[in-house]
Amino acid sequence: MGAGLEPGRRRTVSGNNSRMTVLALISDGFGAPGGIAQYNRDLMTALSQSSAVRDIVALPRFGQVGAPTPPKVTQRRPQPGRLSWVVNACEMALQLPFDILFCGHLNAAPLAALIARGRSKPLWLQVHGIEAWAKPGTAIRKATARAHLITAVSRHTRARLLSWCDIDPARVRVLPNTVDARFHVRAYPSELASRYGLVGRKVILTVGRLAAGEQYKGHDRIIGALADVRLNVPEAVYLVVGSGDDQLRLEAAAVAAGVRDHVIFAGQVAAEDLPDHFRLADVFAMPSTGEGFGIVFLEAAASGLPVIAGHRDGSADALADGVIGTLIDPGNRNELVTALIGALRAGRAGMPPDGVERFAFPNFATQVDALVRHHFH
């Protein structure tokens, strides 16, 4: 076992002009669904475009065998079992030569820190959102403090991490989600509108899981505001895309609020159908208090929708502090009602607002390259 690296010291991994191999311990890789998988894929793709990186070996827990990967990226066979993933990660880390150990989830930080220390390699830890907000246990805290670089998806997540981790703030950077180019302004999907009975209606849209553990997203806040919104915009309707174990509770809330006939639960929508669902709507609203970043806001904005979000979490980053959409206090019902009425009356802008391009992939890739050079080269 070699001595661990002293965290915080910029070091040359293998010479200033050499290119580096990144070993990536990730939960969700190529071929896996969800936001974290998307982030990991974007990051690997960006790394593959950096001239400072020779290659990337991904060790995912979930993913598809044979899923297409960008050049320079190799994805090993996914290991869905927690124990088998850990054993596999340890074996690979001992066998494979690498220069940077990337860890894609806070919960795996203790394992990653152990491997990094054992191999005397710098650790790059990625944190997404709510998992890094509350003070974790000692093992995760110690592992986090040993990271050479931590990237957080938003300023909010970074600040929350720094509230429990005594680490040099210069080693904690913000690397936001990036918006997929398939979200853009497109033709109105009349057939889909007819299917949902939305022709002639003003549509408020939320896209997100309806999980009992994620009630912070604020579906019930919109349901609670809908009656007042309809007093001013009678044709308003609320379209909820997503599924989960919280749906029954939300349906009951809509009944209690007297708006059940004006709330449509569309269920889970296939990824390829999502852009059309954004096009159906007149405003995207999710007054959440628990977003690490909220990539869905950018997808909506890129689709030409006005966007309403809460100002207490990472949503403020996704809305570029209000440049991209309207930030409200998610706990203030009047603010929500006013913002929804204003957006529905104003209608769709038709074009994505200024500021969305800040989160385009080329910017993301440039930032990844700068981080690699600054912290590891």
Binding site: G8, R10, A152, S154, R155, R158, A159, L162, S163, D166, D168, P169, A170, R171, V172, R173, V174, D317, T366, Q367, A370, L371, H374, H375
Partner: protein, 588 residues
């Protein structure tokens, strides 16, 4: 943000934006060198590559300018600010090593797309920054950063604990988690990834470590003392560089008196000096006005004695707390002497600050090495120190003796521990009297007070005098005296210069540390060609006593408005008064 600091620079204001408004620099000007508009800031290089906003003075700017002109640089102004631009273009970040002075600046390099932040070796000029992951903000004051309304007000437990442990917030911490001080003697680069880690280019400990502390012993002492005296004169001469009159604070002590004598030796013709006096001390040994007047007469200065009354203190207190940038238990005296100097029309005043740190003027130079010798071995016996402290802390309360005495065995065995005992306000085990348990736990874990103190001693000079001089300079003077001097003087638009706080002088005195240890301030007293009178050099050190302490006590009352028990040092009570006026300094 910028105009929150209007008092720091009443003579002008400027702003510059670049990179499609993605970077902005602001400046408030107190015009001292090159009073024309040519000295306006932020200042840009002729080729447009670099833009700088600068606070402070570069005392060797004329020498640097001469060298730069010889190398082909063409200057547009007579200001020291422009020297920074040319020097950076030639030397990059390494340029800070060539600077003699007190400074904090930010320089944007459009070619490299980086911003350099830099702070002088001693940390005379403050510089705070905040990086939220998207935007970096910096300013000379914590309160100015907060005035921008973009920075979280979440308290930093390390800052809170640090204040109650030491009486001031130790850098790099501040009262707020989102704001950090750029440490003294450090540079920092901001690039597209954000604010990098501070890089140290000067450490006081290193100056002592580099010096050959006692080489040659007594045989060489005469030469070293002579060199030291020459270095003192050289520093005073350097600190007189200005296009406005430079005055001086004068007390009955050796430090300020010797500096006024050296100002005369350096060729200053018409010196304005000011002493603060108190009616309460009239006719007592604590009254400094008489002796100060004699010194003024000796050196032929135009002298003013300014009497401060309790009524004035009470009237000024709200302003004082407003001007206080971070909580501090000191600074009141500097407030009044600066106020007096400004009333005389002065923009610049010389201060004797730093003499005690450089020439061993504090009791700590005697006590700390003695404690370390006595307790080094017993403090290593497991649990003994903590046990004695637990028992002792009960006893000290009952016997009415200083509560720190209980910690001698636990803390006295190392320089860091002994220093905490000597300079500490509340001891770690006493913090529960002023802070809640969570703040204490988190604050101590973040602050790591003994490690923070110990870090100042690296690299070790292996000399007791040098160690204490380093600790006092790098901790007490830096975090307390210099910071207090900055806010208390700049609130009156007065620039205070401290020739005894000078990295060039430090190198000379460090080389003569053996002599400084043996002769103490006699080296300083004898430095002017016309030495200080025996009445000054032989005066018993009274400490920094003023009736301000008594006045402060009047503000320390319990809930019924009665004076609190006086069985503990006054500064502890005062810290609670100050702490209560700072929102981020939570009380239990």
């Amino acid at each position: 943000m910028r105009d929150h600091m209007a008092a720091r620079g009443p003579d002008g204001a400027g702003a510059w934006y670049g990179e499609a408004d993605r970077i902005g620099l602001g400046h408030r000007r107190l015009a001292i060198i090159d009073l024309t508009d040519n000295g306006h800031q932020p200042m840009q290089s002729a080729d447009g590559r670099c833009t700088v906003t600068f606070n402070g003075e570069i005392y060797n700017y004329r020498e640097l300018r001469r060298d730069l002109e010889a190398a082909g640089c063409v200057f547009q102004s007579q200001s020291d600010t422009e020297v920074l631009l040319h020097l950076y273009a030639r030397q990059g970040v390494a340029m800070v090593r060539a600077l003699r002075g007190m400074f904090a600046f930010a320089l944007f390099d459009a070619r490299e797309r980086v911003t350099l932040l830099a702070r002088d070796p001693y940390g005379i000029k403050p510089l705070y920054y905040s990086d939220d992951g998207w935007t970096c903000r910096f300013a000379s004051q914590v309160k100015a950063l907060l005035a921008g309304r973009k920075i979280s007000h979440e308290p930093d437990p390390a800052g809170q604990v640090g204040f109650y442990l030491l009486g001031s917030v130790p850098e790099p911490f501040t009262s707020f988690r989102a704001i950090r001080a750029l440490p003294a003697g450090c540079t920092l680069l901001i690039d597209r990834t954000g604010a990098g880690a501070p890089e140290r280019y000067h450490a006081i400990a290193a100056a002592f470590e580099r010096a050959d502390l006692d080489a040659g012993g007594e045989a060489n002492e005469y030469d070293k003392v002579t060199a030291c005296r020459a270095a003192l004169l050289d520093s005073v001469r350097a600190h007189l560089v200005a296009d406005v009159p430079v005055g001086a604070f004068l007390s009955a002590g050796i430090d300020s008196g010797a500096l006024v004598g050296l100002m005369r030796d350096a060729g200053a013709q018409r010196i304005e000096t000011v002493t603060v006096g108190f009616d309460e001390f009239r006719g007592t040994a604590q009254d400094e006005t008489g002796l100060a007047g004699e010194v003024a007469q000796l050196y032929g200065t135009r002298h003013t004695t300014r009497i401060v009354t309790r009524a004035e203190f009470e009237a000024d207190l709200p302003e004082i707390v407003t001007a206080m940038d971070q909580p501090s238990i000191d600074g009141i005296n500097t407030w009044f002497v600066s106020k007096a100097a400004r009333e005389l029309g002065l923009k610049v005043a010389i201060s004797g600050l730093g003499g005690d740190e450089l020439f061993g003027g504090y009791p700590s130079f005697r006590d700390i090495p003695r404690w370390v010798r006595a307790f080094a071995i017993p403090s290593q016996v497991p649990l003994l120190g903590a046990g004695v402290r637990r028992l002792g802390s009960v006893m000290t309360g009952r016997l009415g003796i200083n509560p720190k005495a209980a910690g001698l065995l636990e803390y006295g065995g190392t320089y860091a521990g002994a220093y905490l005992l000597r300079r500490g306000l509340f001891m770690p085990w006493e913090l529960a009297r002023v802070l809640d348990p969570d703040t204490i736990r988190d604050g101590l874990a973040r602050l790591q007070p003994l490690q923070l103190i110990g870090a100042a001693l690296q690299p070790d000079a292996h000399d007791n005098f040098a160690r204490v001089a380093t600790l006092e300079s790098a901790l007490y003077m830096r975090n307390q005296l210099l910071r207090d001097t900055d806010w208390a003087s700049m609130a009156h638009s007065l620039e205070v210069r401290a020739p005894l706080v000078d990295s060039v002088l430090l190198a000379h005195v460090a080389a003569a540390a053996g002599s400084a240890r043996r002769k103490g301030k006699q080296v300083l007293a004898a430095a002017p060609s016309r030495p200080l009178p025996a009445a000054v050099t032989g005066r018993a050190k009274t400490g920094f006593t003023t009736p301000v302490e008594t006045w402060m006590r009047a503000f320390v009352t319990d809930g019924d408005g009665r004076l609190r028990s006086t069985d503990i040092p006054w500064a502890r009570d005062w810290s609670r008064v100050v702490g209560a006026r700072f929102p981020a300094t939570t009380h239990a």
